[in-house]
């Protein structure tokens, strides 16, 4: 039997023990790619993205029973994914011996280590520039530029006012422009 794609119906099925696992599998299939790319752009490496993604879905499984249906499922999942990514980056920063603000920071090196990396191409320069943004500003830029998320939904995901998000996005774009022009 084919499962519905609607979030509310999937949540109803998840609350039934008989259909719980199937409903969650449907949620996984529906959101895994979007969430993966969001996490991947934050943490850069596939292995790290895979760890963070699996971890966030385990947390979603545990928390979904208490999920309030007045908010959207996908913004709730994005919030978990963003928080998990930021926590992962924070842990990496603590373990690292070098400063993350340094020119040769860990994420920059990871991008340069990619087999497809081409420093002359603008899209790769954009990725290098994004890694120089502060973590939360990076999340704002990625959600808006790559995920094309409206500010109202970003406000729910990042628990920040729309005005603050617009200002943060503006600053992020200006910093990226400066980086690209200087490199």
């Amino acid at each position: 039997m084919a499962l519905p794609q609607d979030d509310i119906e999937l949540l109803t099925l998840f609350k039934d023990e008989g259909t719980k696992e199937r409903a969650f599998t449907a949620i996984l299939k529906k959101y895994q790619e979007r969430l993966y790319w969001h996490i991947r752009r934050m943490v850069v490496e596939h292995e790290d993205a895979n760890d963070v993604l699996q971890n966030m879905f385990l947390k979603a499984w545990k928390g979904l029973a208490n999920f309030r249906e007045d908010s959207q499922l996908y913004t709730w999942l994005y919030r978990i994914a963003t928080n998990e990514s930021l926590t992962f980056l924070e842990q990496q920063k603590k373990r690292s011996t070098f400063s993350m603000n340094d020119e040769e920071n860990g994420l920059t090196n990871k991008i340069k280590a990619d087999t497809n990396f081409d420093g002359n191409r603008l899209e790769w320069k954009l990725q290098l520039a994004v890694q120089h943004l502060p973590e939360k500003q990076k999340a704002v830029f990625n959600l808006r530029y790559f995920e094309e998320m409206p500010y109202a939904e970003m406000s729910t995901v990042l628990e920040t006012s729309e005005g603050a998000l617009k200002a943060s996005y503006h600053h992020a774009v200006k910093k990226i422009e400066e980086f690209i022009l200087n490199n």
Partner: protein, 247 residues
């Protein structure tokens, strides 16, 4: 979701440079990744649930019966590990007894000391330092003497004896000068009346009678020498008669 066109319009208003960057996903992932991911995550969830549910169950059957034997086997395996390894590499070396060929003098290690090594002795810390007591005692004595001297000087300056004042006024400056120049105390004293001397002694708490006796003995002639007694047996008699000591 916002339209891609909306995002581009917005970004152009902020930066034309960034808006000109091609919207390309530079990262890659295997095609099979997303097809297998749900199964992997569900397996993790089930494994987590299984682990949680079996956490409080009893240990595997026969676990404790075989536990001691298993531990001993591991110990023997560890101990025999070196010998087994050596016999595998070189049976010849393994056959040689593991005995120490070199010898050291008896009780060498018990008396072993290193150059410059000193036997450790515990530091002795006295409970009290006697020098410090004498130091404080000496300081107290000096302070006391200084205090007494100051009090004495102050008192002397404050209380000028009225008798001396009287004597000074009685003697007059000429007599004082002659007294100072000649040192003739007897003559100076003749000019002071007996009453004045008696008052002075009484004021200063002196025994007047004793003072009179002392003053009279001062005036008597020199006592006979020891040889005088040998020459004349009446020496003492004569001396007493001469000084009116005999009743």
């Amino acid at each position: 979701m916002s339209n891609r066109e909306d995002i581009l319009v917005e970004i152009k208003s902020i930066s034309v440079t960034v808006a000109a960057i091609p919207f390309v996903n530079v990262f890659h992932v295997d095609d099979a990744y997303f097809s297998t991911l749900p199964e992997i995550i569900i397996a993790h969830i089930n494994a987590g649930n299984a682990f949680t549910s079996t956490k409080n169950l009893a240990v595997p059957e026969g676990y404790f019966e075989s536990l001691a034997a298993n531990i001993l086997n591991k110990i023997y395996a560890h101990e025999n590990g070196v010998a087994a390894e050596l016999s595998e590499i070189s049976p010849l070396l393994a056959d040689i007894e593991n005995k120490e060929t070199y010898k050291v003098p008896e009780s060498y290690f018990n008396n072993l000391t290193f150059v410059g090594e000193q036997p450790e002795t515990a530091k002795v810390i006295s409970l009290s330092n006697p020098r410090s007591f004498f130091k404080y005692a000496a300081a107290a004595v000096i302070t006391g003497l200084l205090g007494l001297s100051i009090v004495n000087i102050v008192d002397n300056n404050k209380a000028v004896d009225p008798l001396i004042t009287t004597a000074e006024t009685t003697l007059g400056s000429t007599q004082q000068n002659s007294l100072a120049l000649n040192g003739n105390f007897d003559e100076a004293l003749k000019n002071i009346s007996d009453n004045e001397i008696e008052q002075y002694l009484q004021k200063n708490g002196q025994d007047v009678n004793a003072a009179l006796v002392a003053s009279s003995t001062d005036e008597v002639d020199r006592l006979p020498e020891a040889s005088d007694y040998l020459l004349d047996e009446n020496t003492l008699e004569n001396y007493l008669k001469q000084n009116n000591f005999k009743n």
